[in-house]
Amino acid sequence: MKAIEPDAHERQLIEAAQRDPSRFAELYETSFDRVYAFVARRVPGRDEAEDLTAEVFHQALASLANFEWQGTPFAGWLLGIASHLIAGRWQRNAREPEICADELESIGVPEQTERQAMFSQLVDRLPEDQHYVIRRRFLDQRSIKDIAKELGRSEGAVKQLQFRALENLRNQVRTRRE
C-alpha cells in the first residue's frame, strides 16, 4: 500500500472546484488513471469498468461540496467511492464482494493501482509508432493483422514494434523504481 502525499496544489484544486464546479476537470485529469486502474482490476469487463469509473466521477462531482479537507488525498476519497460502488454492484449480483474494507486504508491507494496509473502515463510517452501499436493492441484489443493493415506495414514489423514498446515500458518502470 502506498500513501499519496496530499500537496498544497491538490488542496487548491479541490477548493477551486468546490467554489466552481467547472474546475472539477482539473481534478479529473489528475485522478482518472488511478480510479480506472483501481476499478478495472476489480470488475470482469471493460464495459463495467468504464461504467463504474464514470459513476465514481459523477458521484464525486455531485458530492464535492461535502468534501472536507482533512489531509486525505483526493484520490483516496475517489477510491473510497469506487470501493463502495463495486461492493454494491457485487452485492446486487448476490455474490461475495471481492473487495473488503481492509483493502483500502483511509489515506492510501493500493500499490497495484499506483503502478497501473504509472503505466498509463508511460504509454503516453512512448514514441509515436510504438504508442500507436500499444494503444490499438492492448487498449482497443485489435489483432496484429489489423494493426499492420492500418499502418500499411508487415505483421512482422508490427510485432517488432510491440516488442520494442514493451521493452521500453519495462525499462522505464525499472528506472522509476530505482
Binding site: 484544486l13 477551486a16 467554489r19 466552481d20 464546479p21 467547472s22 474546475r23 472539477f24 476537470a25 482539473e26 479529473y28 485529469e29 489528475t30 482518472f32 480506472y36 486502474a37 478495472a40 482490476r41 471493460r46 469498468a49 468504464e50 469509473t53 464514470a54 466521477f57 459523477h58 462531482l61 503502478r115 497501473q116 503505466f119 498509463s120 502515463q121 504509454v123 503516453d124 510517452r125 500499444i134 494503444r135 490499438r136 493492441r137 492492448f138 487498449l139 482497443d140 484489443q141 496484429i144 512482422g156 510485432k159 517488432q160 510491440q162 516488442f163 520494442r164 514493451l166 521493452e167 515500458l169 519495462r170 518502470v173
Partner: protein, 359 residues
Amino acid sequence: MNNSMADQLEEAVSALMTGSQSGPHQSDPRIRQLLAVADELRYLPRTGFRARLRTDLETAANHRAMHRPLDILPAPPRQRGSRESVVPPLFRTGSSAFPVRGSHLAISFALHVAALSLVVAWGWWMVENRAVVRKTVAELIPSDSYALPAAPGVSYGGGGGGDDDKMQASHGSAPRFAAEQLTPPAVNVRNEDPKLAAEPTVIGSPDLVLPQSTQPGDPMAALLTPPSNGIGSGGGIGSGHGGGVGSGEGPGVGEGRGGGIGGGVFRVGGGVSAPRAIYAPDPEFSEEARKAKYQGSVVLSAIIGSDGRPRNLRVVRSLGMGLDEKATEAVARWRFEPARKGSQPVAVEVNIEVAFRLY
C-alpha cells in the same frame, strides 16, 4: 532482437488477451518480464473513454456552474506527456460550446433587469391610467345615487289635440286618465263602426278624476255647440296637437305638454318622485377635448318616460369640443327607474348634468 522473440512474445500476448493464459508463465525470463508489462496494459482504458467521460463531466459541471460566478481561464493546448503540469479549465473560450464569461452574465443580468423594469413600469402606468379613466367616468354623474334633483315648483302636465275643424272645440268632459292611450278622445267620431273598439283615454295618473258628463269635449272650452273636435291636429280635442284634450301638446289635458293635466309634463316634487338611473354607461371624452385637456359640464334636459327611457334630449348648457354630443349619446343609452306619482310611473322632465373632468 530477432523475429522469433517478437513472434514468441506475440503468441504469449495473444494467449493473454484471449484469456487462455492468465499471466506470464514463459520460460524465457525476458519474455516473461515483457508479458508482465503486457498484463498491466490490459487494464488501461479504451481509447476515447477518458475524453468521453470528461465531456460528460463537463456537461454535468456546466449544469451545476450555471448560477455561479465563473473563473474563466483560457484553455491551454493539451500535450501528450505534460498532463500533470497542465490545468485545463472546463469552460473554453472562443467558439467552443457554452462559452461563459462573467461579463456576459453581468450583461444578461442587466438586460433582464431592464426588461423586468419595463414590464413593471408599463403595468404601473396601465393601472394608473385606468384609475384616471375610472375616476373621470365616476365624476360624470353628479350624484352617487343617481337621484335627480327635485324641481323647485309644483308639478304640471298637459296635452292638446284637435281634428283640424274650422270650429273651436266644444265644451265637454275629458275622458278618464290612463297610463296608456289606445284611442284619442273625439267629439265627432269619424268612424262609427271601428273594427277594434277601444275606450278613448288621455295620458295621466288614473288617480286623477275630472268631472264627467255625457258630452265629451274640452273642459276649458267656452262653446257648447256645435260639437267640434277643435282646430288642433293629431287627434283628440282642442287647439293643440298630440291626441290629448286642450291647447297643449301631447296626450294629456290642458296647456303644456307631455301628459297628465295642466300645462306640461310632470316635474319632480309635489308628490312626483325623482327617476333613478339604473343603467348609466360612461360617456367618452371626445378626442379633441382630451387633447386640449378641456373640462366642464354639459346640462341636458330630458323627459324620462314611464318606461324609464329618456327622450327629447336637448342641450341646456353647452360645453363644446364634441362633449355635448358625447353626453347626449351616453344619456340616450341610460335607463331609469321611472318617476312615480303615487304608485304609478309617470313621465317627468329633468335636467341632467354631465361633468367631464380630467385628473
